[in-house]
Symmetry: none
Subunit: 217 residues, 4 copies
Amino acid sequence: MAKPNPDPIQQQLIAARRNQILDAATQVFADKGFARATIRDVATTAGIADGTIYNYFENKTALLLGLLNRLNESDLRQGHFAQSAELDIADFVQGYVQHRLEQFGPDELQLLQVVLSEVLINRELRDLYYQQVLAPTFALAEQYFEQWSMEGKIVSANPRMAPRMFAGMVLGVLILRLMGDRYLEIHWGDVPQALAAQALSGLMPPEGDYDATDDQA
Amino acid sequence: MAKPNPDPIQQQLIAARRNQILDAATQVFADKGFARATIRDVATTAGIADGTIYNYFENKTALLLGLLNRLNESDLRQGHFAQSAELDIADFVQGYVQHRLEQFGPDELQLLQVVLSEVLINRELRDLYYQQVLAPTFALAEQYFEQWSMEGKIVSANPRMAPRMFAGMVLGVLILRLMGDRYLEIHWGDVPQALAAQALSGLMPPEGDYDATDDQA
Amino acid sequence: MAKPNPDPIQQQLIAARRNQILDAATQVFADKGFARATIRDVATTAGIADGTIYNYFENKTALLLGLLNRLNESDLRQGHFAQSAELDIADFVQGYVQHRLEQFGPDELQLLQVVLSEVLINRELRDLYYQQVLAPTFALAEQYFEQWSMEGKIVSANPRMAPRMFAGMVLGVLILRLMGDRYLEIHWGDVPQALAAQALSGLMPPEGDYDATDDQA
Amino acid sequence: MAKPNPDPIQQQLIAARRNQILDAATQVFADKGFARATIRDVATTAGIADGTIYNYFENKTALLLGLLNRLNESDLRQGHFAQSAELDIADFVQGYVQHRLEQFGPDELQLLQVVLSEVLINRELRDLYYQQVLAPTFALAEQYFEQWSMEGKIVSANPRMAPRMFAGMVLGVLILRLMGDRYLEIHWGDVPQALAAQALSGLMPPEGDYDATDDQA
DNA sequence: CATGAATGAGGATTCATTCAT
DNA sequence: TATGAATGAATCCTCATTCAT
């Protein structure tokens, strides 16, 4: 109530402990799901006592929000959209997808797994996730698509639908992988390029002087 | 467990009661998630007593399996892939996507929501779902893609990757809708065509004589 | 939510079970105090399972409120004040005190013990108790004292202070007994008369030169 | 436990800290009750760290005993009984009651509240309190009443019952005030005299055969 | 001495499941 | 078959207490 604890070392210790706990929570929740996982599971995995968790998180739900925030930050950390709207679109999309998927290492996949599972059945969390992650992403993407569309760089008819299909594609493939598809797991390295190609094929105008525009129009 | 009860009327009554319970379970699980939902919730929603559920389902988990089967049947019911591999591919894809998405009315969306949420964090269920639903679908699709590819009808380099990206796209857009995206909700009617177009653009060979195979390699 | 359960037999069973639980709660709470007593203590004492208590009481606090109500009813059950304001005052006071104290058998003493202990440190319960028990009692008593005072039947100067000192006397002696005073415990039978005499002596006008020592003997 | 620390300044510091803690404990316990109050509550109120309390008190129960002792000392501090048994009884009683009640400022009321609440449900504490406070008081009082009675100064037949009724009266009125009676709170200044008068009326012999009935009637 | 993070035993409460009616 | 009261295992969370700093 009084001391905002400006001690930077304390701050770091606290942050470290919180991360330690969230790491454990990610593992445990991904394995058993949020509801079936017990605080004891998390504590044991983190190598601490049950009660200690409550020195760092209000309650079990706060752990989930902590994971949501992690996913959030992980998403924001690669806000490459803003970076380069002037690049060649093909390069941009390719780079973006590549980046986006590379971001999902094993840890982030687990994060997504946990959060997604809960988001699907928890309205509160869903709203939070949508407002914090999806809505801003779509809003930004719509701007770019609109601009590109106006500049004639892409032919996609609908600048609001396109980002959703694009995002859906990425999300869907991630989920198929999470659902245990062996092929995707093994060939995960090929996925970015394939995704980018698929996305681009729907966006790009036919290249060059051949007259095949009618296959889209 | 003892009497096989061959009475057809009894059978129907039992099936009806089971459906009544599964309907309630779908609603309740979709609202609160499987773990947070209680048997009492389901019973109350179904308008019966708690104990009655146990006359029709072994335990709570059996309800979930019941829902998985429903989703299964719902999937199989439209096994249109087999039907018409000789159609024009564009028509076929369009028809397939259309069918596939139309199948997901509000009830099926809830089913998907529940099952997906659990599948993400329940290895057992995940394996079941994968083996019962995804694997057969992919296996079949791979055959067709291979055939089409060999016949030169499509240019997609990889007949194993393509169905996964295709399925991912459909699944991803469904999930975005489940996550509360207003645009998709409102323009749900436009989604099938957009999806089909996007999918086709990546599959169809350029209709001109330019060599576009390299955008996949 | 739907059935108000008008079944009278059910009602009786429910009431009986509630009483069984409240009986146990009285004992346990009186022995260890509300906070130190566990639900398991109560359940064990009542000879039922822990969870069963929650079929009859919302939570632990509701048990306390149940006891408060019991004390309430026990108080109201002997609303003899109203009955006979026209009696000879001496008879009336004597009768009242007698009645009041006789009402406190072992069970009621325990009730008082528990409720009083909590009332002293629980504002909410205190307000409830004051409004439900004390305030009405005082309000009624004040009327009588006022009337008697106007009729010249008593000399007590203050019709608002008098009932409080009267009630305080009764309450105080009860508490001294609860605190383990052996003398009061052994001579509890003499208390009503002594109390009545003490009370009357402060109320009654001196009756001239009669020898009043014997009303103590 | 090892060094008796004869340093008088240290002693004072320790005493001061103990008092600081007991002050906090009084407030907190009065507000939430002993069991519901946490060591952290007390520490925070005292403006110190949790652990520090354990440098001055063995455990939480020791805090309660500390408060009991305080009440004890507060009681003993005004051992006026001994002082003046030869005064006029009326003066003495009046003085005693006055003193007794004036002793209960807000702090002492809180003390009483806490201790009383616990004493009612804690046999150990109850015995302690009875033996340390009530029993000696009664023993002393009984002597005086006996003496007065033998000297004919009072008519109360029973020198053992009388002090208990007397003490009960005082205690009871204090408790009614603690229970939130507004009238007593506001007119607390009038209470001593009223109490004394009530007490005296039961003790004093009729003032001879004077005929003063008409001044009331 | 003072601090407050860590501990883990303990307790209120929930809920899947059983079974007598 | 339907019911719903009873059960008690399981779990979240609190908090007195310890102890390294």
